[in-house]
């Protein structure tokens, strides 16, 4: 398997911040689904960076090997599924038990994100986008500060 591009811990964290900034620009231009599409990557990158931080590794290749060894399962971190990344985080630090009502709601809202948004010919609404953004921002903060 070829190494991950931009798979460094700092790169992932920086990408999380930058994709959120990109998303805000799209939101200001009322490109609702495009904004949601990019904002979702902010959560994905934040989760991957947090997993690397917890296991004290510096890139996604090392993280993938560490997780596979620790949990004795074949896995690929080429996934974009927030649910899978959250499950690993929970198995490592029990993050679920720290999720209060509001954060749990934010998480399930963020989990609706999928990379296939980019193929959708439809747009989202302003309200969908705003709710999603709120959830992304709060949930990202929770991930950063709770473990």
């Amino acid at each position: 398997m070829t190494p991950f591009n931009f798979g460094g811990r700092t790169e992932q964290l920086t990408a999380a911040l930058k994709r959120l900034m990109d998303a805000r620009v799209l939101m200001a231009e009322e490109r609702w689904l495009g904004a949601m599409y990019l904002a979702g990557y902010a959560v994905e990158c934040r989760l991957k960076a947090k997993l690397m931080e917890i296991l004290n590794v510096w890139n996604l290749d090392e993280l993938e090997s560490q997780l596979a060894r620790r949990f004795r399962q074949r896995l690929s971190l080429r996934t974009h599924e927030l649910e899978i990344l959250m499950t690993f985080l929970d198995r490592l630090v029990g993050i679920r038990s720290r999720m209060r009502k509001e954060i749990l709601r934010d998480y399930t809202l963020c989990s609706r994100w999928q990379t296939q948004f980019r193929y959708s010919p439809l747009d989202a609404t302003k309200y969908e986008c705003e709710s999603f953004f709120e959830a992304v921002e709060r949930f990202s903060k929770f991930i950063s500060t709770s473990c």
């Binding site: 599924e81 649910e83 899978i84 959250m86 499950t87 679920r96 038990s97 999720m99 009502k101 749990l104 709601r105 998480y107 399930t108 809202l109 989990s111 609706r112 609404t125 309200y127 969908e128 709710s131 999603f132 709120e134």
Partner: protein, 85 residues
Amino acid sequence: MAANPETKKKIEEVLRHHFQENAYIDVSDGYQDNIHVIVVSNELDEKSEREKQEILWDLIDDAELPESEKTKISLILPLSRSNLK
């Protein structure tokens, strides 16, 4: 590893109790022991995304599940019929 069937059953019951018969309700396994909840109902028409999530969460709260089970819910997809047109 799969989701706890009792938890799924309780969630489904509380949702079926609230929504009309023609609502589509699906409570299924997510990744490992995660749970996905999908509801399609006219009652969700003209509600914001946040409101739709709140409605389903308030109902799920009524199921009186332990927090450890509630946090297994990793996806809630509340849709109005018009969302699917």
